[in-house]
Protein backbone atom coordinates (compact mmCIF):
# COMPACT_ATOMS: atom_id res chain seq x y z
CA UNK A 1 0.00 0.00 0.00
CA UNK A 2 0.98 3.64 -0.20
CA UNK A 3 2.19 3.39 -3.77
CA UNK A 4 2.55 6.77 -5.33
CA UNK A 5 -0.50 6.70 -7.54
CA UNK A 6 0.46 9.80 -9.44
CA UNK A 7 3.21 7.77 -11.09
CA UNK A 8 2.23 6.44 -14.44
CA UNK A 9 3.68 5.27 -17.66
CA UNK A 10 4.51 8.30 -19.75
CA UNK A 11 6.73 8.75 -22.76
CA UNK A 12 9.86 10.84 -22.43
CA UNK A 13 9.49 14.27 -24.03
CA UNK A 14 10.29 14.19 -27.71
CA UNK A 15 11.29 17.75 -28.34
CA UNK A 16 12.50 20.92 -26.72
CA UNK A 17 14.58 18.98 -24.24
CA UNK A 18 17.05 21.45 -22.82
CA UNK A 19 18.67 19.01 -20.46
CA UNK A 20 18.42 15.36 -19.58
CA UNK A 21 20.06 13.86 -16.57
CA UNK A 22 20.39 10.13 -15.99
CA UNK A 23 20.77 8.43 -12.67
CA UNK A 24 18.76 10.98 -10.78
CA UNK A 25 16.81 10.15 -7.69
CA UNK A 26 13.45 11.81 -7.23
CA UNK A 27 12.30 12.52 -3.70
CA UNK A 28 8.85 13.80 -2.81
CA UNK A 29 8.38 15.24 0.65
CA UNK A 30 11.20 13.12 1.97
CA UNK A 31 10.15 9.87 0.30
CA UNK A 32 12.36 8.49 -2.41
CA UNK A 33 10.71 7.45 -5.64
CA UNK A 34 13.82 5.71 -6.87
CA UNK A 35 16.29 6.55 -9.58
CA UNK A 36 15.58 7.55 -13.13
CA UNK A 37 16.01 10.17 -15.79
CA UNK A 38 15.13 13.81 -15.32
CA UNK A 39 14.08 15.59 -18.52
CA UNK A 40 14.02 19.35 -18.47
CA UNK A 41 12.00 20.20 -21.56
CA UNK A 42 10.43 23.42 -22.71
CA UNK A 43 6.94 22.06 -22.31
CA UNK A 44 7.27 20.36 -18.95
CA UNK A 45 9.60 18.82 -16.42
CA UNK A 46 9.50 15.01 -16.43
CA UNK A 47 11.07 12.28 -14.42
CA UNK A 48 11.02 8.67 -15.53
CA UNK A 49 12.22 5.55 -13.90
CA UNK A 50 13.98 3.11 -16.17
CA UNK A 51 10.78 1.11 -16.27
CA UNK A 52 9.08 4.00 -18.08
CA UNK A 53 6.91 4.98 -15.14
CA UNK A 54 7.13 8.53 -13.88
CA UNK A 55 5.48 11.90 -13.66
CA UNK A 56 5.68 15.34 -15.09
CA UNK A 57 5.30 18.83 -13.71
CA UNK A 58 4.03 21.84 -15.58
CA UNK A 59 6.06 24.98 -15.23
CA UNK A 60 3.14 27.22 -14.29
CA UNK A 61 2.72 25.05 -11.19
CA UNK A 62 6.35 25.42 -10.16
CA UNK A 63 6.82 28.23 -7.66
CA UNK A 64 10.56 28.06 -7.39
CA UNK A 65 13.57 25.88 -7.89
CA UNK A 66 17.04 25.95 -6.39
CA UNK A 67 20.39 24.26 -6.11
CA UNK A 68 21.04 23.07 -2.60
CA UNK A 69 24.57 22.15 -1.58
CA UNK A 70 23.99 22.67 2.10
CA UNK A 71 24.63 19.20 3.45
CA UNK A 72 23.44 20.15 6.88
CA UNK A 73 19.99 20.77 5.44
CA UNK A 74 19.87 17.69 3.24
CA UNK A 75 22.58 15.04 2.93
CA UNK A 76 23.00 15.27 -0.84
CA UNK A 77 23.48 18.12 -3.24
CA UNK A 78 20.33 18.40 -5.29
CA UNK A 79 17.88 20.40 -7.33
CA UNK A 80 14.97 21.50 -5.19
CA UNK A 81 11.63 22.18 -6.83
CA UNK A 82 8.59 23.59 -5.06
CA UNK A 83 5.29 22.92 -6.74
CA UNK A 84 1.95 24.57 -6.15
CA UNK A 85 -0.03 21.36 -6.17
CA UNK A 86 -0.81 18.40 -4.02
CA UNK A 87 0.71 15.04 -4.76
CA UNK A 88 -0.20 11.85 -3.10
CA UNK A 89 1.50 12.05 0.18
CA UNK A 90 -1.21 10.88 2.48
CA UNK A 91 -0.08 7.89 4.39
CA UNK A 92 3.05 9.61 5.60
CA UNK A 93 2.48 7.57 8.73
CA UNK A 94 5.82 5.90 8.48
CA UNK A 95 7.57 9.25 8.72
CA UNK A 96 10.88 8.03 7.30
CA UNK A 97 13.36 9.56 9.67
CA UNK A 98 15.11 10.97 6.64
CA UNK A 99 14.61 14.71 6.66
CA UNK A 100 13.41 17.79 8.39
CA UNK A 101 10.58 18.59 6.07
CA UNK A 102 7.79 16.70 7.66
CA UNK A 103 5.86 19.86 7.13
CA UNK A 104 2.42 18.59 7.87
CA UNK A 105 0.83 21.25 5.73
CA UNK A 106 -1.44 22.47 8.47
CA UNK A 107 -4.43 22.82 6.29
CA UNK A 108 -5.14 26.37 7.16
CA UNK A 109 -2.84 27.15 4.28
CA UNK A 110 -4.87 27.63 1.16
CA UNK A 111 -1.81 26.90 -0.91
CA UNK A 112 -1.05 23.28 -1.63
CA UNK A 113 2.66 22.70 -1.72
CA UNK A 114 4.74 19.75 -2.78
CA UNK A 115 8.49 19.63 -2.42
CA UNK A 116 10.53 17.62 -4.84
CA UNK A 117 14.22 17.01 -4.76
CA UNK A 118 16.07 15.68 -7.76
CA UNK A 119 19.37 14.22 -6.68
CA UNK A 120 21.67 13.52 -9.61
CA UNK A 121 24.46 11.08 -9.18
CA UNK A 122 26.64 13.56 -11.03
CA UNK A 123 26.67 16.65 -8.82
CA UNK A 124 28.55 18.67 -11.39
CA UNK A 125 25.40 18.65 -13.49
CA UNK A 126 23.41 20.71 -11.00
CA UNK A 127 24.39 24.04 -12.49
CA UNK A 128 23.26 23.01 -15.95
CA UNK A 129 20.06 21.52 -14.58
CA UNK A 130 19.29 24.71 -12.70
CA UNK A 131 19.95 26.93 -15.71
CA UNK A 132 17.90 24.74 -18.02
CA UNK A 133 15.02 25.03 -15.62
CA UNK A 134 15.36 28.81 -15.46
CA UNK A 135 15.20 29.00 -19.23
CA UNK A 136 12.19 26.77 -19.48
CA UNK A 137 10.39 28.51 -16.64
CA UNK A 138 10.85 31.84 -18.40
CA UNK A 139 8.98 30.43 -21.37
CA UNK A 140 5.85 30.17 -19.25
CA UNK A 141 5.06 33.61 -17.89
CA UNK A 142 2.05 33.89 -15.68
CA UNK A 143 -1.05 34.42 -17.80
CA UNK A 144 -2.88 35.80 -14.79
CA UNK A 145 -0.51 38.67 -14.41
CA UNK A 146 -2.79 41.42 -13.14
CA UNK A 147 -0.57 43.94 -14.79
CA UNK A 148 -1.99 42.93 -18.09
CA UNK A 149 -0.51 45.75 -20.05
CA UNK A 150 1.62 43.26 -21.73
CA UNK A 151 -0.22 43.95 -24.88
CA UNK A 152 2.60 45.31 -26.93
CA UNK A 153 1.76 43.45 -30.05
CA UNK A 154 0.12 46.38 -31.76
CA UNK A 155 2.69 48.97 -30.79
CA UNK A 156 5.69 49.86 -32.76
CA UNK A 157 8.48 48.80 -30.54
CA UNK A 158 10.50 48.05 -33.55
CA UNK A 159 14.11 49.20 -33.50
CA UNK A 160 13.63 50.94 -36.76
CA UNK A 161 10.45 52.67 -35.90
CA UNK A 162 11.69 55.70 -34.03
Amino acid sequence: GGAMSFLKRIPPPAEGVRHRQPDTEAVLSGRSLGAGWLYIAESRLSWLENSGVGFSLDYPTISLHAVSRDLSAYPSEHLYVMVNAKFEEEGTKEAPVTEEEEEEDSDDDAEPIAEFRFVPNDKSALEAMFSAMCECQALHPDPDDEDSDNDYEGEEYDVEAR
Binding site: S63, E127, A138, D147, Y152
Partner: protein, 122 residues
Protein backbone atom coordinates in the same frame (compact mmCIF):
# COMPACT_ATOMS: atom_id res chain seq x y z
CA UNK B 1 25.29 38.96 -18.09
CA UNK B 2 21.66 38.41 -18.80
CA UNK B 3 19.73 41.29 -20.23
CA UNK B 4 16.31 40.87 -21.75
CA UNK B 5 16.81 40.56 -25.41
CA UNK B 6 13.33 40.16 -26.68
CA UNK B 7 11.59 43.30 -27.86
CA UNK B 8 8.55 42.38 -25.91
CA UNK B 9 10.48 41.97 -22.69
CA UNK B 10 12.21 45.28 -23.16
CA UNK B 11 8.88 46.95 -23.80
CA UNK B 12 7.45 45.47 -20.66
CA UNK B 13 10.44 46.50 -18.60
CA UNK B 14 10.46 50.06 -19.90
CA UNK B 15 6.89 50.45 -18.79
CA UNK B 16 6.96 48.93 -15.36
CA UNK B 17 8.86 49.06 -12.15
CA UNK B 18 10.42 45.74 -13.00
CA UNK B 19 13.07 47.96 -14.52
CA UNK B 20 14.07 49.01 -11.03
CA UNK B 21 14.49 45.39 -9.97
CA UNK B 22 16.64 44.74 -13.00
CA UNK B 23 18.96 47.41 -11.70
CA UNK B 24 19.61 45.39 -8.56
CA UNK B 25 21.89 42.90 -10.27
CA UNK B 26 24.80 42.01 -8.05
CA UNK B 27 23.23 43.50 -4.94
CA UNK B 28 22.30 41.64 -1.80
CA UNK B 29 18.53 41.73 -1.77
CA UNK B 30 15.70 40.12 0.15
CA UNK B 31 12.72 38.77 -1.71
CA UNK B 32 9.63 37.91 0.24
CA UNK B 33 7.52 35.23 -1.28
CA UNK B 34 3.79 34.85 -1.41
CA UNK B 35 3.87 32.00 1.06
CA UNK B 36 5.76 34.15 3.54
CA UNK B 37 9.08 32.50 3.09
CA UNK B 38 11.96 34.83 2.26
CA UNK B 39 15.15 34.60 0.30
CA UNK B 40 18.16 36.86 0.70
CA UNK B 41 20.88 36.66 -1.88
CA UNK B 42 22.74 38.40 -4.67
CA UNK B 43 20.54 39.22 -7.61
CA UNK B 44 21.73 37.43 -10.70
CA UNK B 45 18.83 38.42 -12.90
CA UNK B 46 15.29 39.72 -12.93
CA UNK B 47 13.33 39.34 -16.14
CA UNK B 48 10.35 41.25 -17.44
CA UNK B 49 8.00 38.79 -15.77
CA UNK B 50 9.62 39.46 -12.43
CA UNK B 51 11.16 36.01 -12.28
CA UNK B 52 14.07 36.50 -9.90
CA UNK B 53 17.30 34.54 -9.90
CA UNK B 54 19.46 34.85 -6.80
CA UNK B 55 22.85 33.42 -5.82
CA UNK B 56 24.32 32.57 -2.43
CA UNK B 57 20.95 32.52 -0.84
CA UNK B 58 19.86 32.33 2.74
CA UNK B 59 16.36 30.97 2.58
CA UNK B 60 13.94 31.14 5.47
CA UNK B 61 10.88 29.00 4.91
CA UNK B 62 7.45 29.84 6.20
CA UNK B 63 8.17 27.88 9.38
CA UNK B 64 11.25 29.96 10.00
CA UNK B 65 13.70 27.20 9.13
CA UNK B 66 16.84 28.60 7.57
CA UNK B 67 18.83 26.93 4.85
CA UNK B 68 21.41 27.93 2.30
CA UNK B 69 20.96 27.57 -1.40
CA UNK B 70 23.60 28.15 -4.02
CA UNK B 71 21.10 29.48 -6.48
CA UNK B 72 17.41 30.13 -6.39
CA UNK B 73 14.88 31.01 -9.07
CA UNK B 74 11.52 32.32 -7.95
CA UNK B 75 8.72 32.85 -10.40
CA UNK B 76 7.32 36.35 -10.61
CA UNK B 77 3.95 35.11 -9.55
CA UNK B 78 5.34 34.06 -6.21
CA UNK B 79 7.15 37.24 -5.38
CA UNK B 80 5.33 39.35 -2.85
CA UNK B 81 7.89 42.01 -2.05
CA UNK B 82 11.39 42.86 -3.06
CA UNK B 83 13.24 44.84 -0.45
CA UNK B 84 15.19 47.49 -2.29
CA UNK B 85 18.58 47.74 -0.58
CA UNK B 86 19.00 50.94 1.36
CA UNK B 87 21.99 52.15 -0.57
CA UNK B 88 20.16 52.10 -3.87
CA UNK B 89 19.28 55.44 -5.43
CA UNK B 90 15.98 54.47 -6.97
CA UNK B 91 15.66 57.26 -9.48
CA UNK B 92 19.22 56.92 -10.68
CA UNK B 93 18.83 53.18 -11.03
CA UNK B 94 15.70 53.51 -13.11
CA UNK B 95 17.35 56.10 -15.34
CA UNK B 96 20.39 53.95 -15.79
CA UNK B 97 18.31 50.95 -16.73
CA UNK B 98 16.27 52.97 -19.19
CA UNK B 99 19.42 54.18 -20.85
CA UNK B 100 20.72 50.67 -21.06
CA UNK B 101 17.56 49.49 -22.75
CA UNK B 102 17.57 52.43 -25.16
CA UNK B 103 21.13 51.65 -26.07
CA UNK B 104 20.24 48.08 -26.80
CA UNK B 105 17.40 49.21 -28.94
CA UNK B 106 19.56 51.34 -31.19
CA UNK B 107 22.35 48.82 -31.34
CA UNK B 108 21.09 46.75 -34.19
CA UNK B 109 19.66 49.56 -36.23
CA UNK B 110 20.39 53.11 -37.10
CA UNK B 111 23.13 53.79 -34.66
CA UNK B 112 25.83 55.66 -36.50
CA UNK B 113 29.10 54.06 -35.77
CA UNK B 114 28.03 50.54 -35.46
CA UNK B 115 26.93 48.99 -38.67
CA UNK B 116 27.12 45.39 -37.80
CA UNK B 117 24.10 44.52 -39.83
CA UNK B 118 24.42 45.91 -43.33
CA UNK B 119 21.15 47.49 -44.33
CA UNK B 120 19.85 46.83 -47.80
CA UNK B 121 19.55 50.60 -48.50
CA UNK B 122 23.23 51.26 -48.38
Amino acid sequence: MEVSHSLKERAIAENSLVILLQGLRGLLTTVELRDESAATGLVTNVDAFMNVRLAQVTFTDRQGVVSHLDELFVTGRNVRYVHIPQEVDIRATIEQQLQLLQRLRSFGGRHRGRKEFPRSKH
